[in-house]
């Protein structure tokens, strides 16, 4: 049985078991996330107009180039083909206003990848969701650019929606006026009317649904002794039609956040493809809905404010407004910055829901999803260490 040199040569591959692998790959997961995000982003282009492509394009380009450059500089194998930088770019664009200048998108993208991800060691090692960290950075460094909630430039789609709302017994202008609590309510309504008439107005800015539900705390009355005697209510209960607008995305807001319905559709697609676990969106949304329903919130009667009773809050408006659906389905489900086990994910998601509503109802910002998720990202190592699964066979006595 002596072997000749020819026979001795390696015939077959001898890498380790398992010799079969599941077909799912990291690039496929990232690709599916992009696909699931596509309808909501497409809606943004339809609703806001072509210029909404500017933040999307520059954010993605900045993220991918930053990823490529830093990985090349560190001398590591190329990582842009795993698709994670594209996902970060799209998610960052989704939480930016549609009229963001291109350079601001580039700044956000470079920060998100450079500091948010690569500074920690690249994919899999970052603590905070890079897109949300990018947004937080932009919010802190260019708040005026980030807060300019823009109303959809509706065009044809607006006419179509308007017809539907006429059929439902309202009109876009009426509804826009109805939900508006600000002194410029008349202006808002007339501007919306201008869109109705398709009179050539290209860009409209104004308060978003969450802004409308949120009255600055500075409205308090201070008595002679310097004590705050009266707190102006912080939020306003919106009517059903504005809730519907919020869900459908005929609403001012960040680029990819406006259409809650399309985000839910994308999220359900990811659930079906088993890319994201059901527990995070479920508990995040559930907790936010319960708190939005339970806590008293202000609404306007004439010129006065009144509070809704306990357990009658506008929970449906809270779910459809702002970034909640984007946060619950696309941001909090980021695997890298989330807990490892189901128990941990449930704690994490409940924490996200609580923090979001605490910021929305009692905080200084109208929207809390971004900071809620970043805050809970920070807690992930702690959650992981507290939710280690029981190892099979431990805690059992030998016979």
């Amino acid at each position: 049985m002596t072997m000749s040199a020819e026979e001795k040569k390696l015939l077959f591959n001898v890498n380790n078991s398992p010799h079969i692998r599941d077909g799912d790959t990291t690039p496929r997961i990232m690709g599916l996330v992009c696909l699931a995000l596509a309808p909501a982003l497409a809606w943004a282009l339809l609703a806001f107009g072509w210029y909404a492509i500017v933040p999307v394009f520059f954010s993605v380009a900045a993220c991918v180039l930053t990823e490529w450059a830093i990985v090349a500089w560190r001398g590591l194998p190329r990582s842009i083909d795993d698709g994670s930088a594209v996902v970060t770019g799209l998610l960052l664009a989704a939480v930016c206003p549609p009229n963001l200048p291109w350079w601001a998108a580039v700044v956000g993208g470079v920060f998100a990848i450079g500091i948010g991800k690569q500074a920690f060691g690249g994919l899999g090692h970052n603590i905070w969701n890079p897109a949300l960290l990018g947004r937080a950075f932009m919010q802190a460094s260019m708040p005026d650019r980030m807060m300019s909630g823009e109303w959809p430039h509706l065009g044809l789609a607006g006419k179509w929606w308007n017809n539907i709302f006429h059929y439902l017994g309202g009109s876009f202008s009426e509804i826009a006026g109805r939900i508006n609590s600000n002194p410029d309510a008349v202006t808002r309504a007339s501007m919306a009317g201008a869109v109705d008439a398709a009179s050539g107005v290209d860009v409209m800015t104004g308060a978003t649904l969450l802004d409308a539900m949120h009255v600055p705390a500075a409205g308090g009355i201070v008595d002679a002794a310097g004590n705050v005697a009266y707190h102006a209510p912080k939020a306003l209960s919106p009517g059903w039609s504005s809730i519907l607008y919020g869900w459908l995305g005929v609403e001012g807001g960040s680029l990819g956040e406006v259409s809650a319905v399309l985000l839910v559709i994308g999220g359900l697609y990811l659930l079906r493809k088993k890319v994201i676990p059901w527990d995070i969106p479920f508990f995040f949304i559930l907790v936010a809905a319960v708190l939005g329903w339970a806590f008293p919130q202000p609404y306007k009667i004439g010129d006065a404010y009144a509070y809704t009773p306990w357990f009658q809050g506008p929970w449906l408006a809270h779910l459809g407004a702002g970034g909640l659906m984007l946060g619950a389905f696309f941001m909090a489900t980021d695997m890298v910055t989330g807990p490892l086990t189901r128990k941990g994910r449930i704690i994490f998601a409940c924490g996200c829901g609580v923090m979001t509503m605490v910021i929305r109802l009692f905080g200084g910002y109208p929207e809390g999803v971004c900071y809620a998720i970043l805050l809970m990202n920070t807690c992930v190592p702690l959650i992981d260490s507290l939710t280690r699964p029981r190892v099979f066979g431990t805690g059992v006595k030998k016979q």
Binding site: F12, S17, I20, D22, G122, P339, L340, G393
Partner: protein, 440 residues
């Protein structure tokens, strides 16, 4: 009532090419190379000189110490001396080469018919030991050692493992279908040897005909052996998972099944045990599934121990050009062979010619948690793989690396294609090496 063990996966079964085939006999090999290391434990000590005429069933190597097993000639012929063949684990081991004289003449000394019902537990153990029977599911632990638990361990249940949860393999399935009575009689003998009151055959429910055959045989024999069908889920056949699935008992971490009052034997070992006790036949042949995309004529074959892989594969329409990986065992835990210079051993339940990507380029862990959901041992494989990568042994030990039994589910499900189980294997080896150093 069955229980659901934690984790697991359901890979594509790929059993359809061989599951309906009857059990056939492999062509007689022109020569065999019978390894002295076919079991866990010390290699057997050779008893035969070159040039000697050997009869089938003749002991050619005796066991060395207690944890070891004898080897027997699987054909009759002339001993051609000790050669080296490759062990599935990769290293070369000594083997006796016997040239086949084509007569297949049994050694009259071993062929003894016995009344199995009259055998005492001690006699059963002795016969099993003499027949060189080992765990035939692949682990190859000497069966007589398992049948001799320390007296303080009370074993109430014998479990026969017919789960065959690895994809592709159908060797146990076809054996259970065609020899259900022999398997159950073997179970009765093992049960008697350990003094257990209960015996269960556990198999996955993708083998309905095997289950039916076993149930019919149990009725015929009037034996109280239970036949339990379990859902298809890898690693259903891992013994601690099988015990949990059938009895809801957890084997303690670091312990053996006997610590949970259970003994687990493979169905093929029970078959061989019966053949040895009833007819005196030592273990000289076994069922091997030969299949995979590189095999033109897949088959379930009776193969003589020591038959060379090349000769066996040639009968099955082996196409080396269509084969990138040659696996001994199943695709989840089997071992990849570099060439054809190795012979069938007692634990060889399958040979797979797979057309697989050469290597998976792995990426960073994205913490998706799929390995945690899949891990039947309840570990955090992704964390352990990171510790392996960064050589942090103390943490790996603290995270129970030693409870891993290397089923490979973690690496199977990993979307970043990380060789997680391999890192854990290396950690375990390193932790054990350090422990041994401490003892010294």
């Amino acid at each position: 009532m069955n229980y659901r063990f934690h984790g697991g996966v359901h890979p594509r079964e790929n059993k359809d090419r061989t599951m309906d085939l009857p059990l056939a006999k492999a062509e007689p090999p022109p020569f065999v190379a019978i390894s002295f290391s076919q079991h866990i434990g010390k290699p057997a000590t050779p008893l035969v000189k070159p040039g000697e005429r050997i009869l089938r069933g003749q002991m050619i190597a005796e066991q060395t110490g207690y944890v070891s097993a004898a080897a027997h000639a699987s054909i009759s012929g002339i001993a051609r001396g000790v050669v080296q063949v490759r062990h599935p684990l990769g290293f070369l081991v000594d083997a006796l080469k016997i040239e086949n004289d084509g007569l297949d003449e049994w050694d009259p000394a071993v062929k003894i018919e016995r009344d199995v019902d009259a055998l005492s537990p001690g006699e059963i153990r002795k016969i099993v030991q003499g027949a060189g029977i080992v765990g035939m599911g692949g682990a190859t632990f000497p069966s007589h050692v398992k049948l001799s638990p320390p007296p303080e361990k009370k074993i109430d249940t014998l479990i026969l493992n017919g789960a065959e949860c690895e994809p592709y393999l159908t060797a146990d399935d076809v054996l259970m279908r065609e020899f259900p009575e022999e398997i159950l009689r073997g179970a009765e003998l093992f049960k008697k040897a350990i003094g257990a009151g209960r015996a269960i055959v556990g198999l996955e429910d993708n083998k309905p005909r095997a289950a039916a055959a076993l149930k019919a045989a149990a009725d015929r024999l009037g034996s109280g052996i239970e036949i339990a069908q379990l859902p298809v889920r890898y690693p259903q056949g891992a013994e601690k998972q099988l015990i949990y699935a059938l009895l809801g008992r957890e084997t303690p971490s670091g312990g053996l099944p006997m610590d949970a009052g259970v003994l687990v034997h493979n169905v093929a070992s029970a078959y061989s045990g019966y053949e040895a006790c009833a007819f005196g036949y030592p273990l000289t042949e076994r069922v091997v599934t030969v299949t995979g995309p590189g095999i033109g004529k897949p088959a379930n074959l009776w193969v003589r121990i020591g038959a060379m892989a090349g000769q066996l594969l040639d009968q099955c329409g082996f196409d080396p050009a269509a084969t990138r990986k040659l696996i001994v065992g199943g695709p989840m835990m089997g071992l990849a062979m570099r060439d054809l210079e190795w012979s069938v051993v007692k634990g060889t339940n399958g040979i797979l010619a797979l057309d697989d990507p050469a290597a998976y380029c792995h990426r960073a862990c994205i913490r998706c948690g799929r390995c945690i959901e899949g891990c039947p041992a309840g570990l955090l494989p992704c964390i352990l793989s990171n510790y392996g990568e960064s050589d942090r042994l103390a943490e790996a030990e603290e995270y129970n690396a030693r409870d891993c039994f290397e089923c490979g589910v973690c690496a199977y499900v990993c979307p970043s294609k990380r060789p997680i189980v391999q890192w854990i294997r290396m950690e375990k080896a390193e932790i054990n090496r350090k422990k041994q150093m401490e003892v010294k």
